[in-house]
């Protein structure tokens, strides 16, 4: 039976929520939506708790049939989408009926689209989360990416949700984003020239990009002693500099610990920008203070909270 049946899954569609916290000390990656903010907004539109499980559709290309009446929302990188051939908008509640067919074009603007359904995707939680961890083969729908013919159930719908997300609350994605970073924890291991390069030059996103992280290419960032450190914990947006001097930004499926120097970390409000970046795009890094970074985060969260109250 189910609520939604996959006709075409696209290159990579997985079930994700806000991730698996509390197990990183035992080496279990957080996983979860790469663009957490888009997932949260999608859930709020359809009346779910903001951390419910939804579909993360990498690069679009999904086709699915709604097996029962359900409200849904598309968020993340906007791409042409249709319900029974009629164009539908992102960031807005869509009332779908039994038998409707949803199709989402291949995305040219960004990497990830989220499809939230009222009630949330009903899969058994593994270690407290419904997120799929592909390398470990667990979580989500049978621990794997969705395939043609898979049918997914939804939980009971909670409340009406929101008709749409106002412009001011939508993430300001950019084709060639500037990512604000807070330096550390090992910026002291990088030469002055290396730090100058990192702060001054554009870096291009390579094709080596997945849910674990993305590799960039640009002027080499050199180490004072070498790229290896005694392995320590990683966090979302950590920027590692391995021996070749080319940055790696860690994302949702990152290993919990790593042995390369970490020059800086992308600040939380800019995580959606790196989550949506495509190969070939250029990125610049801009150093922010911790206070500036947290202030931007407080502003975003309080604007969202005010809107939800109104």
């Amino acid at each position: 039976m189910g609520t939604i049946r996959i006709i075409k899954p696209g290159p990579l569609t997985t079930v994700q929520d806000l991730g698996r916290l509390g197990y990183q000390d035992r080496g279990v990656p957080v996983s979860g939506a790469v663009d957490q903010y888009a997932l949260r907004l999608g859930n709020l539109i359809v009346g779910n708790r903001e951390g419910e499980a939804a579909l993360e559709i990498t690069l679009g290309g999904l086709e699915a049939e709604l097996v029962q009446d359900v409200s849904l929302a598309l968020t993340g990188s906007e791409s042409a989408a249709r319900l029974n051939g009629e164009e539908v908008c992102f960031w807005r509640r869509i009332a779908a009926s039994k038998g409707d067919r949803l199709s989402i074009d291949h995305s040219r603007t960004g990497a990830r689209i989220y499809l939230a359904l009222a009630g949330g995707i009903d899969v058994p939680p593994v270690m407290g989360s419904k997120s799929t961890y592909l390398r470990g083969g667990f979580g989500g729908y049978q621990g794997r990416a969705l395939r043609k013919g898979d049918g997914l159930d939804c939980g009971p719908a909670r409340e009406a949700g929101l008709p749409e997300i106002p412009l001011g609350l939508k993430p300001a994605y950019s084709d060639h984003p500037t990512l604000r970073v807070v330096l550390g924890p090992q910026d002291g291991e990088i030469t002055d020239q290396g730090l100058f390069a990192f702060r001054s030059y554009p870096y291009v996103l390579t094709r080596q990009m997945d849910r674990m992280g993305c590799r960039l290419e640009g002027p080499g960032i050199t180490h004072r002693k070498g790229p290896d450190i005694i392995s320590d914990g990683t966090s979302f947006g950590s920027i590692q500099i391995p021996g070749n001097g080319q940055p790696i930004i860690l994302l949702a499926d990152r290993q919990t610990t790593g042995g390369y120097v970490k020059i800086a970390a992308v600040i939380a409000v800019d995580w959606p920008l790196i989550a949506q970046a495509l190969p070939g795009r250029t990125i610049r890094f801009e150093v922010a203070s911790l206070e500036e970074a947290q202030e931007s985060y407080f502003q975003r969260e309080s604007a969202l909270a005010r809107f939800l109250k109104s």
Binding site: R26, G27, G136, A265, L290, Q294
Partner: protein
């Protein structure tokens, strides 16, 4: 070396790391794990997750609920008591290992490198109680401290594409156990039939940082019957 005053380092705006020293040292690691235990034992609103490693503890937090300043003050308050008592008695977990043969294809090479017989490598490797310094690389993969210096062995020149789960390996001063089938460059000397990560168990992960591990050599038959 242990720092006189631990360093608190930014890891972005939603995590920080408290670092106790700059080497792999049981005394430093004990402080990390002691702090980890203390933070885990109580719920501090705003602390979302903890990652202990050899010499530091990463704390992921939500600055809306717990300001960086409050968190730093809270951490400073914990410091004076750290390491003065053994953090926990620690479980001792015995891991049966079939050394050599197809289970430990690098055993002959490791023995030759150290000018020992394979039996001597096995005896030395299984004589010590190891401490789990940290878990990382993949779910449940323990990095064990306490390897006999005479067994310190460099990694393989080129990593294997697939190392079977349960493989026991050596890499420099470390020994560890692969928890999932994965690529890897450690020297493989044996394999355990015990699953370090098994979702069908109520507690899927066998080991945690701070546990102690003892390897017990078993025969091929015992491995097969396990």
């Amino acid at each position: 070396m242990e720092y006189e005053v631990p360093k608190i380092l930014c890891c972005g705006d939603q995590a920080l790391s408290i670092e106790f020293g700059d080497s792999i040292d049981p005394k430093i690691n004990r402080k990390v794990l002691h702090l980890f235990d203390r933070l885990r034992a109580r719920t501090v609103p705003g602390i979302e997750d903890l990652i202990p490693s050899y010499r530091s503890l990463l704390i992921q937090y939500d600055p809306l609920l717990l300001s960086t300043k409050e968190l730093k003050t809270f951490l400073q308050q914990q410091l004076p008591v750290l390491g003065e008592v053994i953090s926990k008695k620690g479980r001792i977990i015995t891991i049966p290992v079939r050394y050599g043969g197809p289970c430990g294809p690098d055993l002959p090479e490791v023995a030759e490198y150290h000018g020992m017989t394979p039996a001597e490598v096995i005896a030395r490797h299984s004589a010590v109680t190891y401490r789990v310094y940290m878990i990382g690389f993949s779910p449940g993969f323990p990095f064990l401290g306490g390897l006999d210096p005479r067994l310190h062995t460099p990694r393989k020149k080129s990593p294997r594409e697939k190392v079977p789960a349960g493989s026991v390996g050596l890499a420099d001063q470390q020994t560890g156990i692969y928890s999932l089938d994965s690529p890897g460059g450690w020297q493989l000397i044996g394999r355990t039939p015990v699953k370090l990560f098994d979702l069908s168990r109520e507690e899927p992960l066998l080991l945690g940082a701070g546990d102690r591990v003892l390897f017990q050599p078993i025969t091929e038959k015992e491995f097969g019957n396990y």
